[in-house]
């Protein structure tokens, strides 16, 4: 089974628009998924300057899926969805 990669954007835009709150994922994810999920903090994912720009930040990438206006709940939902697919 492939590990699911979760990239939390810690670029300035995402951080300011609410990404600071996503730091709780560092506590939740290892506890909930063990080593099935790999969590990394990433520099600007480049998403804040396209399309709806900052208004949909913060962004998190779960594998290739983009979670916009991300909250811890939304990210966990997306992880569960992808785990179910495997």
């Amino acid at each position: 089974m492939e590990k699911i990669s979760v990239k939390v954007c810690t670029g300035t835009t995402c951080f300011v628009m609410g990404g600071a709150n996503l730091q709780e994922l560092h506590d939740i994810i290892p506890k909930k998924y063990g080593d099935k999920v790999e969590l990394t903090a990433s520099n600007c994912l480049g998403l804040c300057s396209i399309n709806w720009e900052y208004s949909k930040a913060p962004y998190v990438k779960v594998n290739e899926e983009v979670v916009s206006e991300a909250t811890a709940e939304k990210v966990i939902e997306e992880i569960d969805r992808q785990l179910a697919k495997q």
Partner: protein
Amino acid sequence: MNNLGQAIHIKKEILVRIIKAFLSDDFEHQARLIPYDMRPKGMEVPYRCCVYKERAIIKDRTIAGLGFPIEEDDERVSLSDYAKQALERTQISEKNLTVLQAACKGCATNRIYVTDLCQGCVARPCQTTCKFGAISIVNGRSVIDDTKCKKCQMCVNACPYKAIVKISVPCEDSCPVGAIKKDETGFASIDYDKCINCGRCTAACPFGAVHERSQIIDILKAIKSDKKVIAMIAPSIIGQFPGNIYQLKTAIINSGFDDVYEVAQGADVTANTEAKEFIERMEEGQNFMTTSCCAGYNQLIKKHLSEIKPFVSDTKTPLYYTAEIVKKEHSNAVTVFVSPCVAKRAEGYENPNVDYVMSYEELGALFVAKKIQITELEESKYIVESSKQGRNFGYSGGVAESVKKSLKDEDSVKPCIINGLNKDSIKQLKKYAASGVCEGCNLVEVMCCEGGCIGGNATLNNQKTAKKLIDNFTQNSEDIKKVE
């Protein structure tokens, strides 16, 4: 820190758009378009009944972002007119909050309410327990006469079925001094004679109805002029942005400021001065002294707690000393304090050395508008490196610790911490003032916000992480120098 999710996200997005509009070649026109850009035709309406209502609310929020009171809005005045007036004004207002009353509509008034759970029981404990005769029985059910009800909640506790509930108004409940009230018409308004600018109501309202009146346009105007503009960053800013505070300095300079000072520099002066004062007061036989650096607490003293004045340290705040240093070194500069809270807006307004105040949220919005990625920047050093204790001023306990560490005899300080002003802690302070003693303690540190400034209403990070980041950073800073 504010966890209102959507409302706070919208407020920040509006700030970014206001800044972008200012930086464009047609500020007035772009400002007028903000509600249309955020809720374009055909867009699914996320929160309210229709796109027009949403735009009207966004317009109101933008008025606050431009620095004007929403309450006085005349619908015929467009955002381009407001933008123009913002460009023309030369003075900022003392009143630093404004309420989006249209949002109050969805929120019930504070009252005691009998739910359908009422069984119409024979014993009627609610009726017998009410001292004001406000409860009668109609069609076998309890009914409360709102004109007689004093909201004592005796009936709420008396009903064995828990059929009676108190409907609370979040802003009213959050206010420690009863300054915000929802009136008969259902609109909340703030009594500025009572308000201590603690910012609790801005965080408590689920509709995000209470706004700070931003000075961002005034600041951007100063930056655009040929004047030197200097940012003074509060100690609690460590951990509020990605990167470290040296990269932050570069980021602030890249966004248009000429220089950046750490207010922790002034915090060192406050700590040392307060330590000296502490010794003097103890020698004079006073039982305790309270700190004086929190703007919310200082407003409380001024408006509600003058009896504690004799026990409050005469030492000035870190911002006071920092602004004094900056104005001495750059006499013509415009000074901007970068703040965790709305209370410091009041302090800034009263201090002639502080020209403007900008919140962490607003600084963040400026970075977003200018597409500044802090972690990619070089570090810039501060001319004066602040001490570990000065940099720790931003969390509860940090100020008392700095006074302690300033003294040779550290054990002479027996601190007690008021971690957040609320009805109970205010009562406690009143007690200390009346009796002149604070049992087992001689230095009372008072922080209006729970957790200290890292809990301020305009912070960006959650407290736990913020505290960790501050500690990580300051463990490498030098200890504060001792006083003689």
